[in-house]
């Protein structure tokens, strides 16, 4: 019998695990995918080797790459970018840690208070969340991003839009700024040389500007795992969880088991209430099933896998909201072609942003050649110059939106990737019932019936559609302002990569799965601690910080309610994840 079993070692699960391990609880973390414990031997930074969704080391599948990836049903033109493995999608993220906009929380009284997704607000206030933001920001740690050429180009465009620079952590209105990101900023030779002999730790510390965020961060070479620049959870929270005995008084290291696919959550009736008691998982390699019990079970398998596990476990769904309300920031992609160097794709994937509550935001993005090609060909508007698929919106970009592919793409990149700058359009999108995960009617896999992800992307709410169009125009204006001689809008098909709210917490029991403590309304002792627990799309900010802050709060709620403990965030001092005691212990453990 464990104290706590955490299902999933992605962006959220390791936070609960680390926090409760620090309190001395016996925590088991089960991860369905691989542990990349030796990235220098397992990764390459090449795009196909890393990011091929079928065969890459970053995919949704078992450790053994000769085995197929796990098939998921997407019933529309879309791309759902799930990753298995310790770190989850933080393995390929850009480390951006903006706070959710205050307008998405209960009790917000700003003049634009009615402009957000007001039917689906956080069930508590922004002020209540701030200490948890601060705790995570100190742990990760979060810093103001350094600037490279592609940030300078982006800011040049921002400066033409008549917006102020944000100089606070909290976003209070339309503004632009360097990212607040969980990247160790460049130190020593990092960012100042291309000579690899000068870029080994500790001559170089923090971000070396390699441009390989999406292929996994393993730099500077020679650094301890918890000193790699990018704070994916496999570099931050997981090392802390595995070494809790050395940095937390009374702490107890977690047990981490990988290639362990949880197929069932067990329950029983206790005092009339359905109560979670443990889980069954299946070893990917041997197929052997294991069962273990726990006082509390925490789901953190992601927005797509959590509903699947819920359904496959036969858990109740009294208000029919399990799997519903999936939000994805309804991304779009706008590209500028320049005559001068844009710095693409050097440095962190994105180190600059523009926020525009209550519409959404923009980020500059650097991409290597194949991901660039993917990004210019994922469209719901056909092929530029050939067909529009019934869409092809026009605006301050050149020609109708649509795929830039084939000869046109070849010509576009012929001037060099470093003459392009891309902008990610992030929409503040509404929670909608019909954007959801259900079980697929296609054949089950070895872990049970598979999930089906449905997005009615052509029938989003008027507010969502308005926000996306507004931000796409801002992106084009920004690129023009920065000096782009040509601007392309792709009109992306859903790229479901910022995922939120498919198991949402909410103010009302009529349209939420979780109560305000992130505990399931239908099953006691069952909590959710990843992006799926978020009540909404946050207004547009990247979800990792808010998920981790919420997971920290959830860890406190678990400890208070079921282990008789006291909360620690209000009075304690967080340990930073780069702490040398963690590095030393990792070395002793061979990690």
């Amino acid at each position: 019998m464990r104290d706590v079993i955490v299902i999933g070692a992605g962006g959220g699960g390791p936070v609960v695990a680390k926090e409760l391990a620090a309190q001395g609880l016996d925590v088991l973390v089960l991860e369905a995918g691989p542990r990349h414990a030796d990235p220098r031997a397992q990764w390459t930074s090449f795009e196909n080797d890393a990011n091929n969704p079928l065969t890459g080391y970053f995919r949704l599948g078992p450790t053994d790459r000769s085995k197929p990836a796990w098939f998921r049903e997407w019933s529309q033109n879309s791309f759902v970018w799930q990753l298995s493995g310790v770190g989850g999608t933080t393995q390929h993220f850009y480390g951006n840690y903006p706070r959710a906009y205050p307008g998405v929380f209960s009790g917000y009284e700003g003049p634009d208070r009615n402009e957000y997704d007001i039917e689906h607000r956080f069930p508590f206030s922004y002020a209540e969340m701030v200490p948890y933001f601060e705790w995570v920001e100190a742990t990760a740690p979060v810093m103001t991003a350094a600037m490279g050429t592609k940030e300078a180009v982006f800011f040049r465009g921002c400066e033409t839009l008549g917006l102020p620079v944000q100089t606070t952590k909290t976003t209070t209105g339309p503004s632009y700024r360097p990212q607040e990101n969980a990247i160790l900023q460049p130190g020593g030779n990092a960012g100042r040389t291309t000579d690899r002999d000068l870029l080994a730790y500790p001559q170089a510390t923090g971000c070396t500007f390699c441009g390989y965020c999406f292929q996994g961060c393993m730099r500077p070479v020679g650094a301890p795992r918890n000193q790699f620049a990018k704070r994916s959870t496999d570099n931050s929270y997981v090392p802390m969880a595995l070494t809790a005995d050395v940095w937390a008084p009374g702490g107890r290291p977690v047990d981490l088991v990988t290639d362990a696919f949880v197929t069932r959550i067990h329950t029983e009736r206790r005092g009339g209430a359905l109560t979670a008691t443990g889980v069954t998982w299946r070893d990917n390699a041997s197929g052997a099933e294991h069962r273990e019990d726990a006082r509390v079970v925490v789901m953190a398998g992601g927005c797509t896998e959590n509903p699947r596990l819920w359904f496959n476990s036969g858990l109740p769904n009294p208000n029919d909201w399990v799997g519903r309300g999936y939000t994805d920031h309804f991304f779009d992609w706008v590209i500028g072609a320049f005559d001068d160097d844009t710095g693409n794709p050097k440095g962190v994937g994105s180190s600059a942003r523009l926020d525009f509550p209550p519409y959404g935001g923009l980020e500059n993005v650097g991409l290597p050649p194949a991901l660039n090609a993917f990004s210019t060909t994922l469209s719901d508007s056909g092929i530029r110059g050939q067909y529009t698929n019934g869409r092809g919106p026009t605006g301050p970009w050149d020609g109708p939106a649509g795929r830039v592919m084939g000869p046109e793409l070849k010509e576009l990149v012929a001037g060099g990737l470093d003459r392009l700058l891309s902008v990610l359009v992030i929409t503040d999108d509404d929670v909608e019932r019909d954007n959801r995960v259900t079980l697929s009617a296609l054949p089950a896999d070895e872990n049970g019936p598979i999930p089906k992800i449905s997005f009615r992307h052509r029938a989003r709410t008027a507010r969502t559609t308005r926000n996306r169009e507004f931000m796409a125009r801002k992106a084009a204006e920004l690129l023009r302002g920065a000096g782009a001689r040509k601007v392309y809008r792709i009109d992306w098909a859903p790229l479901i990569l910022h995922v939120q709210s498919s198991m949402r917490m909410g103010e009302s029991e009529r349209n939420s799965v979780l109560d305000a403590n992130a505990e399931s309304r239908a099953v006691r002792r069952l909590f959710i601690a990843d992006n799926s627990a978020l009540p909404n799309a946050l207004g547009g900010p990247n979800p990792t910080l808010t998920t981790q802050a919420l997971a920290t709060r959830t860890a406190e709620k678990i400890f208070q309610r079921y282990f008789g403990g006291d909360p620690w965030v209000a009075t304690g001092a967080p340990v930073v994840s780069t702490d040398p005691r963690i590095s030393v212990r990792l070395g002793e453990l061979g990690l």
């Binding site: 090449f46 197929p68 090609a373």
Partner: protein, 299 residues
Amino acid sequence: MPDSTVPVGRRAFLARLGLLGAAVGVGGLLPRSALTPPAAAAQNDLLPDAVGLLRPVLAELARDTLNGLSVFALPGPDAYSAAQGTPGDTPGALEAGTTDFLLDALDNFVPFPDELARPVGAALATGLADSAVPLPGADLLPGQLGTLDRAFSALLENDATIPLSFPIAGMLNLLATQVNPLAVNGAFLSPFARLSYAEKARAFELLEGPDSDLVATLDVHFPEPLKHSVSGLLKFVGGALIEFASFGSYTEYAVFDAETRQLTARPVGWRLTGYQPEGPVEGWDDFIGYYQGRTEVRD
């Protein structure tokens, strides 16, 4: 001999799929004699041989079709690019190994359930609108055509695993002949590979369109709850084929040595885009400071 009689619609279907031309058209891969039923023998005696002969024909047809798709994503200095009207002198998808990239992915790594591949294959076998275009293999005897058709059916029904590249290629070729019926004949094995760039785009328009006839035709053949799964999946496939072919064309796939995890040459995608002119890096010297000199913010 009624068993040897293949209905006209079925014959057109085999032609439009590309199979008839690839097997017995001009430049076809099968000797006619292999399909000729011996007068005295039971027909089924011939079938195992014919199935064995047909499998490589289908594989070549799939490869040829994907050549046509690859150059649609990234044209280069090859015959397929010239045929679609986009000749060039810089390397393209065929130099980048995109066809192998797609075959490798489709046949070995897409965990596409046979339970779905099989009915999709069967559903494709329904007659679509016929045309007056002369079909390849016109001089084929009824018995030969019957053998070919039965071997094809037997292969779909009996093979343990149908490589996903077969139904994908078949689908592209059916669409190709919908766009341009004349594509049933000509250079290459695949009707899709014979299309112009604009015609290939039109084929994808048919696949992606919200009211795609092909998709609707397929839905008819599936019971609920699979009905909309098939149409949704095909819309996904329509997009994914373009995206995946484009992605693959610009990766290191063709020059990656899996043993050493090193590159054996500079990838086509890198040459075309100027990416990493000196090869992989540990870092860049692109740190230019902090915006407005600010290194920290607070509320």
